[in-house]
Structure formats: structure tokens, C-alpha cells
């Protein structure tokens, strides 16, 4: 988990709020292939591709139309594209992902929308037959 008060949750992602090296603010649009070595916080719009060797945090209201690669990620915004995370991926209740997910550890909060294939394996590599995840019914979404 990303911790807000500087404490680290056991087994969680060790990226504290305020440690993002790159901040893509809510009023900003990024077009192209965004490649970084450090942590990224996305609050705005990203079109193209997004790749980092560090951690990724996608805030509520953020819109990513790109394939995403990171070590750890917390998604609370919208992602249209394939998401490849080598360690932990956490989907918040406001998250919406349209694309395939590949990760080692996945946690999903109730309310998150996932429309695509999902591959979770201990070595972080995609299995030969990814399990499909169904889009929640409209009734569930309203709840």
C-alpha cells in the first residue's frame, strides 16, 4: 500500500506519498512514450505509453490511454491499455481498467472495474492461458 503518514504496511508497496519523482498534475496532458526510472504520480491525462522502473500511482480522475509498465502500482483512476506490473498491483474502488493485467500480486477493492484478461503468477510472468475476468453487471456497478 502507499502509506500517507510515512508508515510502511507490511508486504505493501514502499512508496510514501510525497516521494513521487515525477508528478503529472490534473491540468496536464502527456503525449508520447513516457519512460522513467523513478516513481510516478499521475493525476492528469497520459496518451501513448507509460513505463517506469519505479512505482506508479494513478489517482482518481486520471485518464491513461496507454500500455503501462511498472514495478508496483496503485490505480484509482482510468486506464485503457495493458498493465504489466512486476510486483504488486492494487486497484482502488474508483479504478477502471480496460486491458489485460499481468502482475505478481493483485488486490482489488470492491467497486473497481476490470475489463480484460488477468494473469497473476508468483514469478510475475504471464501464464500461457490467462483467466478472463468478467465486467461487473450494471447493478453491481451502481452499488
Amino acid at each position: 500500500m502507499f502509506t500517507k503518514d510515512g508508515e510502511e504496511n507490511e508486504g505493501g508497496i514502499e512508496m510514501k506519498e510525497g516521494e513521487s519523482e515525477t508528478v503529472i498534475g490534473a491540468s496536464v496532458k502527456v503525449d508520447g512514450d513516457f519512460i522513467s526510472e523513478g516513481n510516478i504520480l499521475v493525476q492528469g491525462i497520459v496518451n501513448g505509453s507509460l513505463k517506469t522502473a519505479g512505482n506508479l500511482q494513478v489517482e482518481e480522475g486520471a485518464k491513461i490511454k496507454a500500455d503501462v509498465e511498472a514495478t508496483n502500482a496503485v490505480v484509482r483512476g482510468e486506464v485503457k491499455g495493458n498493465v504489466t506490473i512486476s510486483e504488486n498491483l492494487e486497484l482502488g474502488s474508483a479504478a477502471s481498467i480496460e486491458g489485460d493485467i499481468t502482475t505478481k500480486v493483485l488486490s482489488i477493492e470492491p467497486g473497481a472495474v476490470l475489463n480484460g484478461h488477468c494473469a497473476v503468477s508468483a514469478n510475475g510472468k504471464e501464464t500461457s492461458e490467462p483467466s478472463s475476468v468478467q465486467k461487473p453487471s450494471s447493478d453491481e456497478e451502481k452499488d
Binding site: G18, T22, G25, G32, I35, G38, G44
Partner: protein, 270 residues
């Protein structure tokens, strides 16, 4: 050994008392040195060469940001154009006179004349990164670009969706409103990286608007931050006016390069 490059305007009657304090402070601390008056026709490069040949290693700008920027650019150009080893190792310092346009001195933690003399005597130094604009103008603090500019990186571009923004490329933190948690890891003056910042105008009250209280750079709120080693800033205008320690006219696109650990400076309390 020290060389003091004193701006022309400092010799005016208005600053006689400050000059007396300067002389006294330098003598008392045993850091007196050679003095140069920076007149309009002064050949700064020749004076710098002369200083290097006499073994002077500490160059002090006495005046304001313009004095410091002028001396810094000439020093680095002499250093760049020279293969002599003695031209490669020098220390840069500033002594502020008057309160206006003292951005560089404030960034170095030298807010007053007395403080600066004290820090110069202590000679606590730090090697910092320097920015280079269009391969010709060096800057230390930050380069601030006009509205309607966009950031262009090697493989992606960044544009603002909202009006009322400005773009800056910062070495030192020029904003008051930076998240304290962010400050810890940002604006490191010797990490080989600058921060490209898109900041927004604060919401002004109706009274402020009526009174035309225009917010200064410091009052803008940084929203997006990109660590950079090099960057290109685009603008529809062919020539734009930017602030890079001092006001400058630059042709677009403007390229900013970070030269890591280029300058040894006397630093006060940061």
C-alpha cells in the same frame, strides 16, 4: 585569494554606508582582495584571466542578480574556453547590496551583506549543478518561461489543459507552496537533475484583482513536476522573454541542459 567584482551602481552615494560596511567586514575577517568596478566598458573576461594568472581562486559578485549572472557567465565561458588547469578550480560567491533582485544570494542562504561576509570568511562550499540555455547562457536558480509554452522531452510532450500557468526549470526551489513532503527529495542542487515545473496562478480575491495585485513566481502553486537532464521548451513566438537569474531574450525552441556539479559556491544557511 579573493577578487571582488563590484557593480557600477554600488559606488553611488546611496550605497556609501554599505560599501564602508563591506570594506570593514572584509578587513576584519581577513578576506580583503582585489577589487574591480564593473562599468559598462569593463572587459570582464580579461579581468578574470588576470585574476587566474595571479592565483586568485575565489570570485565574488558584489551587487545584485545581474552582477552575479554577469560574473558567473563570464567565469564559466573563460573556464570552458581554457585548457589551463588553474582555470578549472575556482569558487563563486555573492554579496548582496540593496534588497531588490537578490534571488541568487537568497538561494545561497546569504540574505544580508553581513551574513555573506561571514559565510565567505567561513568558506563553506558546495558544488552545484548549473543550467545552460541554448548553449550560451548559464543560470543557477531557475528559468521561468512565458505562458503558452510547452515542454518537449525526447519521446513525449507535455501541455497544459488550463490557462494561467507558467513553466519553469528549477535548480533551487523558487516556490513557497511546495508540499513539505516533496521538498525533502526535490530541488537537490547537486543531483545532476533540474525539475521542470508547471505551476498555476493562485486564486486571487476580488479586491486583489481590483488592486491589480499580480502574484509573484513564489506564489504560484506547482502542480506537475518532471525531473530532467535536458529539455526543450516550445513557444509559438520566435523570440521569447525568459527569466533565468536575469531577464533574457531567447529564440525558440529553447533548449535547457543541466551541467552537473559545474560550480563551486559559497553557501550559507539553506
Amino acid at each position: 585569494m579573493y577578487a571582488y567584482f563590484i557593480d557600477d551602481w554600488v559606488y553611488s552615494r546611496k550605497y556609501h554606508k554599505q560599501m564602508d560596511k563591506l570594506d570593514l567586514g572584509l578587513t576584519q575577517n581577513g578576506i580583503s582582495g582585489r577589487k574591480f568596478k564593473l562599468g559598462r566598458l569593463h572587459n570582464l573576461s580579461r579581468s578574470i584571466d588576470e585574476c587566474f594568472s595571479t592565483g586568485i581562486k575565489t570570485f565574488v559578485a558584489v551587487g545584485n542578480d545581474e552582477t552575479a549572472s554577469k560574473l558567473l557567465n563570464n567565469l564559466l565561458k573563460v573556464e570552458k574556453g581554457s585548457e589551463k588547469q588553474e582555470h578549472k578550480k575556482f569558487t563563486f560567491a555573492v554579496i548582496p547590496i540593496d534588497d531588490s533582485s537578490q534571488f541568487i544570494a537568497h538561494c545561497f542562504g546569504c540574505k544580508t551583506l553581513q551574513e555573506s561576509i561571514k559565510f565567505l570568511a567561513v568558506h563553506k562550499t558546495n558544488t552545484i549543478d548549473v543550467g545552460l540555455i541554448n548553449n550560451r547562457h548559464y543560470f543557477i536558480t531557475a528559468a521561468v518561461f512565458p505562458k503558452a509554452s510547452s515542454l518537449s522531452f525526447l519521446s513525449y510532450t507535455v501541455s497544459s489543459l488550463k490557462k494561467g500557468h507558467h513553466i519553469s526549470v528549477c535548480n533551487f526551489n523558487v516556490y513557497k507552496k511546495v508540499d513539505p513532503k516533496q521538498k525533502k527529495n526535490r530541488f537537490d542542487i547537486s543531483d545532476g537533475l533540474f525539475d521542470a515545473v508547471i505551476a498555476y496562478h493562485p486564486d486571487l480575491s476580488l479586491i486583489d484583482r481590483i488592486c491589480s495585485n499580480i502574484a509573484s513566481i513564489e506564489d504560484f502553486t506547482p502542480e506537475s513536476i518532471f525531473p530532467i537532464k535536458e529539455i526543450t521548451i516550445k513557444n509559438k513566438q520566435k523570440t521569447i522573454s525568459i527569466f533565468a537569474d536575469v531577464d533574457k531574450q531567447m529564440s525558440t525552441p529553447v533548449r535547457v541542459d543541466v551541467v552537473p556539479k559545474l560550480l563551486n559556491v559559497v553557501i550559507g544557511n539553506l
